[in-house]
């Protein structure tokens, strides 16, 4: 589809329209050409035209507001959209913008030339480049237009209390919650650095309520689908009157206009200038730090003036540096909700373990550790560095204890196995780093086999140690790093935990 720029009589600037909609009486100022080759247009305000049905207006608003969608993603024809485009309530923007080296994708921010492909495009009849990075969400090519809502916003403010939650805060949580409310009021940025099991989600409630009362939209971006699925019912319970939607790969409600959106970071790519409060859960988690374009996506989803909250137990060195330089205000919750200190990992040398494992034997220390856990019916995780090691270790353990299971990210039975582990029918679970976050099992203990591997970074090891001692009945538990030589990451992880345990609590701090 080729586009044109049309100057209508009495209009201040040109309109971008598809070729098929060329209106009578307008002069064509540019085109017809593929949209990414047309000159840029200044930011226009809607014109006052009102010859469209109010029902269609409402549905289009619901689908398009705060997003940029491809024509192929919309259920309407260009003819249906015509009045809205003429009224500039919907505007067309090029999906790809040319740069010196190639292109940059408006939806995902991909600018690396090797992540672009070329195809003989049947829509525009040219050799068309397209972004391969976000092609799974529908192809954005040089001839694609992204359709954005340019009309008035939807939500209004309401002073009524919206939060229905009667839990209590620990001292650390109270301080963090107050800081978040302040960030919402002043539209600023905060890092909430809370140990695993501090009750991070609850800390958000007062700030979210304040924001919703002001009629703002909230985005809660989480690293993985599992986390979205876990958060959605919890938030629906405490904000029963608010429209909340969960977006993840394969979710159904793609076009629902909700005031509170919980989404995986990939799904945030569809949004544009939509949210006044953006909360990023587990900022340091894969794939958020691994993929620069996701950072870009969250950046784009937020309004230019908006509050941003970063939640994490293990800030990246970059974030820590920003905190040190006082560029990013930080509030810490150094104690768990139950008030007990974090279990400190032990390090055990287990020798060269790789060869024995491929030959079907586990290091004696590791085997002994597993035996005691299974015999004393203590649920236990064994973290391993890779899927191949996982399969070998699981096979070795299954020879003695048939009920032992292993899970990795590509395992279809993953949720089922974790569920059986929760119920206690699986006594010991061998896992890769996928279970390092978000899994809470009371009384669990953990071991890391091959802790010297590079996949076990400081944050991964702190998160693994954070699985242990989550409940107040069992605040302690064994966490061992079996290694063949200490790494910087291992000592840093232990230092990190010791530092958090030493950190004064808010009351003590105020007494000083």
């Amino acid at each position: 589809m080729k586009m044109i720029h049309v100057q209508l009589p009495g209009d201040t600037c040109a309109l971008c329209l598809p070729e098929v909609l060329a209106p009578k009486g307008g002069t064509i100022s540019a085109g017809p050409d593929i949209i990414s080759r047309l000159p840029g247009l200044s930011a226009p305000s809607p014109r006052h035209v009102s010859d469209f049905s109010p029902e269609l207006y409402q549905t289009i608003q619901h689908v398009c507001m705060g997003k940029e969608l491809l024509y192929e993603e919309l259920p309407w024809d260009w003819r249906d959209l015509e009045p809205f485009l003429l009224a500039r309530i919907l505007v067309l923007r090029p999906g790809l913008t040319p740069t010196k080296k190639g292109w940059v994708c408006r939806r995902c921010g991909n600018a690396s030339p090797r992540h672009y492909g070329v195809l003989d495009c049947a829509r525009c009849g040219t050799k068309c480049s397209y972004c391969r990075h976000c092609v799974n969400m529908g192809r954005v090519s040089a001839c694609s237009a992204l359709i954005a809502w340019n009309g008035p916003p939807l939500f209004s403010s309401s002073p009524q209390p919206l939060l229905q939650w009667n839990g209590t805060f620990s001292a650390g949580q109270k301080r963090a919650a107050a800081s978040i409310v302040e960030a919402v009021e002043t539209k600023s940025e905060r890092l909430v650095w809370a140990v695993c099991g501090a009750g991070k989600t609850e800390v958000l409630f007062p700030g979210m309520e304040r924001s919703l009362q002001k009629g703002e939209r909230i985005l809660l971006a989480a690293p993985r689908t599992d986390v979205v699925l876990e958060l959605l019912p919890r938030l629906q319970k405490v904000f029963p009157d608010t429209a909340i939607v969960g977006l993840y790969g394969g979710s159904e409600e793609k076009d629902c206009l909700a005031q509170l959106v919980i989404a995986t970071t990939h799904q945030t790519m569809r949004f544009s200038e939509a949210f006044d409060l953006v909360i990023i859960d587990e900022v340091d988690a894969f794939p958020f730090t691994a993929d620069a374009s996701l950072v870009n996506a969250v950046e784009k989803a937020a309004r230019s003036v908006s509050a941003r909250i970063h939640l994490t137990a293990t800030p990246t060195p970059f974030l820590q540096k920003q905190v040190k330089k006082k560029l990013l205000p930080c509030v810490r919750i150094p104690r768990r909700y139950h008030g007990f200190p974090l279990p400190v990992p032990r390090m055990e040398w287990s020798g060269a373990w790789k060869r024995p494992v491929t030959k079907g034997r586990l290091p004696k220390k590791v085997l002994r550790w597993c035996r005691t856990r299974i015999e004393e019916t203590i649920p236990a995780f064994v973290f391993v560095p890779s899927v191949t090691v996982l399969e070998e270790v699981t096979a070795i353990l299954q020879k003695t204890w048939a009920a032992v299971e292993g899970v990795h990210s590509a395992d279809d039975q993953r949720h089922n196995k974790v569920q059986r582990f929760r119920e206690g029918t699986v006594p010991l679970l061998v896992t890769t780093t996928i279970l390092e976050r978000g899994v809470t099992i009371p009384g669990v203990e953990a071991a890391v086999l091959g802790a010297e591997s590079t996949v076990f970074t400081e944050s991964a090891l702190v998160q693994i140690a954070g699985r242990v001692g989550r409940s107040s009945e069992n605040p302690d538990g064994d966490i061992v790093f079996f290694h063949a030589g200490k790494t910087e990451a291992m000592t840093a992880a232990v230092r990190h935990i010791l530092m958090m345990n030493k950190e004064p609590l808010p009351e003590e701090a105020s007494n000083e």
């Binding site: 192929e72 070329v118 829509r123 529908g138």
Partner: protein, 244 residues
């Protein structure tokens, strides 16, 4: 370090004498490469279905017993079995629209073409106008553009004149996607979905190879072949990427 075209993971390539003298960048990583299953061993001599013996399979026997279909399509050649990995791959390529993924199989398709139907004119299965607009590209045309490479310098092996893919056919009606129909629906639809675009004398006496992405029941390929046959084509075979 290069990146896998399909999973974007790293490709580790070791330097051997062969790679030193004939450098060839692999496009897929070892894991992706291993997940696709090349058709080897005994196959049906007509449709390339992998099976335990070398006699024609039940479906092909049924086609050949029917006088109106007998011999319409001499033979089908396929590269891969339609396993889960291939299903997933085709979904990314065709439905999600990552058109360049097909490059991963370019050299294999070329080899297959040269070995089996060298010299035949490649004919891609066309899409209807609506489907072509929706998808933005014709997947069979991409595959067809692969089979005839530009002639290589110093190569004496390749003597037959290379053919550009010929867009000989068009769809007469916009049909429901084949993949959304049942086997019975596909085989029984008695319509003629294709029409030849050229004059009869340009087709008469020539050999053609019809190119498509998947051979499932063989109905689409046979219907296209019948149309060419009616216009006097001498020999018609087909190449598909996968055998469903």
């Amino acid at each position: 370090m290069s990146e896998c075209l399909y999973c974007a993971g790293p490709i580790t390539n070791f330097t051997t004498w062969k790679t030193l003298f004939f450098p060839k960048e692999p496009l897929l990583c070892d894991e992706c490469e291993a997940s696709f299953q090349l058709i080897t061993g005994p196959i049906c001599p007509i449709c390339s279905r992998p099976q335990s013996s070398e006699v024609s399979c039940g479906d092909c026997r049924r086609w050949e017993e029917d006088l109106s279909w007998s011999g319409v399509l001499r033979r089908n050649y396929s590269l891969f079995t339609y396993n889960d990995a291939m299903k997933e791959w085709i979904a990314s390529w065709k439905y999600r629209g990552d058109a360049v993924l097909a490059q991963a199989f370019q050299s294999r398709l070329q080899t297959l073409y040269r070995r089996c139907c060298d010299g035949a004119v490649p004919v891609p299965i066309p899409l209807s106008k609506e489907r072509l607009q929706e998808r933005g590209f014709n997947q069979s045309a991409i595959l067809a553009s692969f089979v005839c490479p530009p002639p290589r310098l110093f190569s004496k092996k390749y003597t037959a004149s290379p053919h550009e893919p010929a867009f000989l056919l068009e769809r007469t009606a916009h049909e429901e996607k084949q993949s959304k129909k049942s086997r019975l629906e596909r085989m029984s639809s008695s319509t003629r979905p294709f029409r030849v675009l050229l004059e009869k004398n340009e087709i008469e006496g020539k050999s053609f190879v019809i190119i498509d992405d998947i051979y499932t029941t063989g109905t689409t390929l046979r219907k296209a072949a019948e149309e060419l046959r009616r216009n006097g084509a001498k020999d018609i075979c087909s190449i598909t990427l996968a055998r469903g």
